[in-house]
Symmetry: D2
Subunit: 306 residues, 4 copies
């Protein structure tokens, strides 16, 4: 299923080089005014990266959002918010040579094994282009949560992105399976190229010895100044404790190389291919807004939206 | 909700010092003969640890399983398999002093914030005792999967447990949200004291530079000898590729100290408490069977059980 | 899956002649005092019927509830409420002759087709005995809803049971798929022997001509005195309008006959069998409490429990 | 949530007079060739009715489908199939007078109560226009099922529509909550203006006395010639028995009257309104294709699609 969330649920659709990518966001409260310019701005962060550089993709993505439903006179109706972004600048010819071979490090081989055929153009559904819908929905979630005092920020550290959630009240998360750390981990590991997740401040807090790990209580600590350290990353027993929630996501390096790749054919033989598609040299600077979006979608699904 | 899985779903119940812990496992195919002795043996692994030591808990847990439904003449009926394990050796008096204070590093404070009151005895629902149900259900999943050629093994490395899944065919996992790595991460991070998760071989593969990360294809490689390295941990684009699936889970140190703890009272004042309950000195050796159980439950939910 | 509900979810287990029937109720708010005597009383209504008669089953069911989890010092913990009722008075010998043949009007044949084997004793999982768990959970839901001013009542009419929900505020139900009438219909049609469902007052309101069907507004009508008639049964566009919700459930006649039945063998041949098991002559008087229970579970899942 | 189904799931979006209505269909197997002309033809049945008459709506609906994703070179990809149909012929001015009053028999009042505001144009989300997405998705489901030998047909009887499913194998449906009759009832009662549902042949079989109700076995009956009568409508214990599945859905009369209506204002006062929007005089002939679509979506969700 291409959905995430139970009471605040995003369903995404679209292949990289099909007509459009988009999504349906269900569970948004009625009567909310959405700042559409902010949403467009978040899409720009996704396209250009937080640290714009010549190394990000040269593919031009105008990414203009068409709102299909759920809004009336600028306010949410409580009905599903559906939207799409047309795919432009498609040059399928670029991908012709990939029709019958599987690139290393990509999803080509596994899609072929799972579905029996695939859209070879630019990764199809497995493309990072699918995250357009996540960023749009995440930007809506961010707006709703900001009115409840909850905000998200990120920092790039090597190949890790650290995310901090401020303002989350104590009591968010379920104690057994749907723990806050488990739900955040699930959402983060669903981002293309994510391989690692850790909660805690710092990232390797879990390796502290028993006499250092448990965060000592702040004497007369207030709701958001509860402990002297925050090794647990604001989560105790799977439930937020009111301190900042801190987690880290590790992403692998880009797998498309401009100098070409040795691909595998269906018969197991190998072949050298020099791709002409324009791909990311390094996509790490484009990931923070996606990390924040997935965090916002997760929190919006776990708390009561007012 | 205290359930995990969609088509193979475990629901657990029970507090540490209530009458019983147990579970309902739904979606098990009919007509299967279960090896009840193996299940009991897995419970012993949970109790004594894979490397028995005087440092594991002294609490005696007989852990005899009562099967309540779903079995007839030794075979599964296709109906829900319900089971319970009575809690024995309860000495509520041991926990009396914890009624009105919150231990550091525990779920006491967050439960109180979320629910307004709690069972203070031994952590109640937040206790590691809840994992009894996971191990039982996981042992059933392991048996079903073994007949399909899929097996699980674990190694303890520092405060990490590495798990390898052998025999998983290519094509398991969904490409967008329910990626195999995301689902495994979710299941692992739901284990008490889990804080970190990484997929890949070795654990920090995601930090490799672009020219080393993508696994080169094995020339004329077969289904399970597909690539020369396994940096992606057997998962490409969220879907298994037929290679061994390799992941790692990081667990924090024990948070209960025999020499006592400085607890927080509801009014924010601190108080020293010397707990008399018998707790784990180090629970790391008891976790491998739980990691394997959660991996088996995850895989059984994602593939077609035959 | 043997579960119903999303945020207030009941999972049931147990075969008629297995060790026990029971359930796990998830999503009950914390801190509620449950009237256990009322729950026991509802079980008596299920056993003896609202109009006790010699025609109801002679099988003695003590139906003593064992509470396994979710309660502490008489109050709910917010954790899953698990319970079981032991099966007593099992005489498997009574059912020996049914091992290899399928009774008309029962689930014997379809279970065999679906699962390949079955528990032939008393219907196994298909027995009306499974509704014990529904009545217990429904009695909990009723208590929670009563504190919010919502109550349930039923009347037997022929082979129909009419149910009225009083006090339901306007706005309950979702407009497209999870309409209040659709969710009530689903819950009612899941009761053993239910075949028909209609919303409206009277039951056949849907057959009224266009000039009579739509309920005219009450001039200056108040929230619960909204319309002059209630043909729509308190539901407009799938959403409650604040008027009493009125619906009807049709149940087929008992299918077990004391004088014996002509059964089908696996090879298609027929055979006469005189059952010795003690069954209902007419179970209609035992159904009202089940209808109310399923209505309460449905409403508790759709509204915000406080 | 605006979704139906678990493994074959339709999510719909769109208001009657917004930019578009559409849907996302998830769980469709890969590699299937879809007959797009058949789908378009089903949309025509929805627009014009099975018995075209001057009494159906005069609103012109071109209903051209835009396929947004999930198809590549004419075959399904296994990814979500997203589609939309633009709304044309919108004359919002027609509905201006309905902005501040609630029509009898419509969803105006309940939407206002639930969401605090609404799109007053043509019913917004509550409009029958939303069923466009159901018919498209249902037409896809029908095609998939036809290759497995399963087909759907309907007959209009008064204000009831009778539906027969042919070719459904024995064993479909779950025994406790997700019974085939409960799932069909849920799907049918989610259709706008549906108020009643009954399974069985004939519709009132549930009222037969005990000596007539249970269907006698056909001597040496084959899989689809199992019983002499079909009072149970092909469902025993919630599970299909291989006989034709027969059910009936009752729909109320149209609630929009060309001669005008007495509406309720927010302050409880009444006002006469003569609507200018073009509405159905009788929509019953347009409902059969929707009933079939919902039946096909239900069956496709319950069986293994090959």
């Amino acid at each position: 299923m291409n959905s995430i969330g139970n009471t605040f649920r995003l369903t995404t659709f679209g292949e990289s080089h099909g007509p459009a990518v988009g999504g349906v966001l269900d569970g948004c409260p009625a009567g909310k005014v959405l700042d559409l310019a902010f949403i467009q701005q978040e899409l720009l962060r996704r396209r250009d990266g937080d640290v714009p550089s010549p190394l990000t993709t040269a593919r031009h993505e105008a990414d203009r959002i068409e709102w299909l439903s759920g809004l009336y006179q600028g306010r949410t109706l409580g009905t599903p918010i559906a939207f799409l972004v047309r795919n432009q600048d498609c040059r399928p010819a670029d991908y012709g040579q990939l029709q019958d071979c599987f690139r290393p490090g990509h999803a080509d081989y596994t899609y072929q094994q799972k579905y029996g055929h695939r859209d070879p153009r630019g990764g199809g559904r497995a493309s990072g282009r699918e995250t357009v819908a996540r960023v749009i929905a995440g930007a809506i979630a961010k707006q709703l949560l900001l009115t409840q005092g909850i905000s998200f920020s990120t920092t790039i550290r090597g190949r890790q992105i650290a995310c901090t959630i401020l303002g989350l009240p104590a009591g968010v998360g379920d104690p057994v399976f749907d723990r806050l750390n488990a739900r955040l981990g699930f959402a983060m590991l669903s981002i293309p190229s994510a391989m690692a997740f850790a909660v805690g401040d710092p990232a390797d807090s879990y390796q502290l010895p028993p006499d250092q790990f448990p965060d000592a209580w702040q004497p007369q600590g207030t709701a958001d100044r509860l402990t002297l350290t925050n090794h647990c990353g604001g989560i105790q027993g799977g439930i937020s404790n009111g301190m900042p929630v801190v987690f880290h996501v590790g992403f692998h390096a880009p797998v498309t190389h401009p100098e070409g790749m040795t691909c595998r054919r269906a018969d197991g033989s190998l072949v050298s291919v020099a791709p002409h598609g324009r791909h990311d040299r390094d996509h790490i600077t484009r990931l923070p807004v996606i990390v924040e979006a997935m965090a916002a979608l997760t929190v919006a699904d776990l708390i009561a939206l007012t």
